[in-house]
Symmetry: C2
């Protein structure tokens, strides 16, 4: 099992770190990718090491894609390579989990039409405009797609991520 | 199952929030106690709601005690009521999990004599002086006592917390 987190500077710290630590607790390998290698810094000052640039990512290698929120998605949502990575996961029906502003990446990649999803409250209008069916719930699961609204939803978000990984295994 | 976290201002944010979210993922009830009700603020600015003051805590009600680090333990390590709570868990052989500066509370309560344990590097000397057998490992489990050194140890720390809770259940 191998997980991919894509983020950038100004990530919402707990939305990146909690999934990262949680997957490592399960001894799942996790790569954190961003525009460049080096470090990225969260809104609350936590730094994480980027071991792969987005350009180096081979999406076939990963079982799940996780998109944390914060201001990071705004910085990478226009990147064609990010869209191609996200599309791969949808085409192969592999889990994609996005929280808070994370779904902005999937909006820009044109992947949310007719999909049930949630997001941070300031993103709701553009989520609907992208053709998604918005639900105001701590976590929404629609096939391979897992979405949550905010840090306080992390327990429910991770529970569904773990359920999805168990289903992938079997 | 019911968990108790004791902390104060200047807690290490992830060391409180990751266990908190992780236990909630398992649908375990969690109380966070501090000197007073209201809010406490972490070193990185995260705020958490305190729903019980330390004086209100009935330790018999809880299955596990968790002591996050940061500067918070320094603020509460001299409190007699905190010592009494910690002693209850040791007497009843219920899990006590302390990370980073968290073991300072157990040092002050006189509970680490001849116990294998770890802690943040700046705490090592006083841990040894308190009679503990220090080990430089991501997590040390000695009977009911689970200790870790720092935030990057959280995956191993939570894995052992979950193992201890599974043992308590059976």
């Amino acid at each position: 099992m191998k997980a991919l987190i894509i983020s950038a500077d100004y990530f919402e710290d707990t939305e990146l770190l909690f999934p990262y630590y949680r997957l490592k607790e399960e001894e799942i390998e996790v790569d954190i990718a961003s525009l460049n290698k080096g470090k990225i810094k969260g809104k609350h000052g936590y730094e994480v090491e980027i071991n792969k640039s987005i350009g180096e990512i081979k999406p076939a290698y990963y079982d799940i894609l996780i998109l944390p929120g914060g201001k990071a998605p705004e910085l990478i949502r226009k990147e064609k390579e990010v869209h191609e990575i996200a599309k791969h996961f949808f085409e192969k029906n592999k889990p994609v989990a996005a929280i808070c502003h994370g779904p902005q990446i999937l909006i820009s990649a044109g992947l949310l039409k007719q999909r049930r999803a949630t997001c941070y409250r300031s993103v709701v209008q553009e989520l609907k405009a992208a053709g998604a069916i918005y639900e105001d719930k701590e976590v929404v699961v629609d096939g391979n797609l897992i979405t949550s609204r905010q840090p306080s939803d992390l327990p429910a978000f991770l529970k569904e991520i773990m359920n999805a990984l168990k289903r992938s295994k079997s």
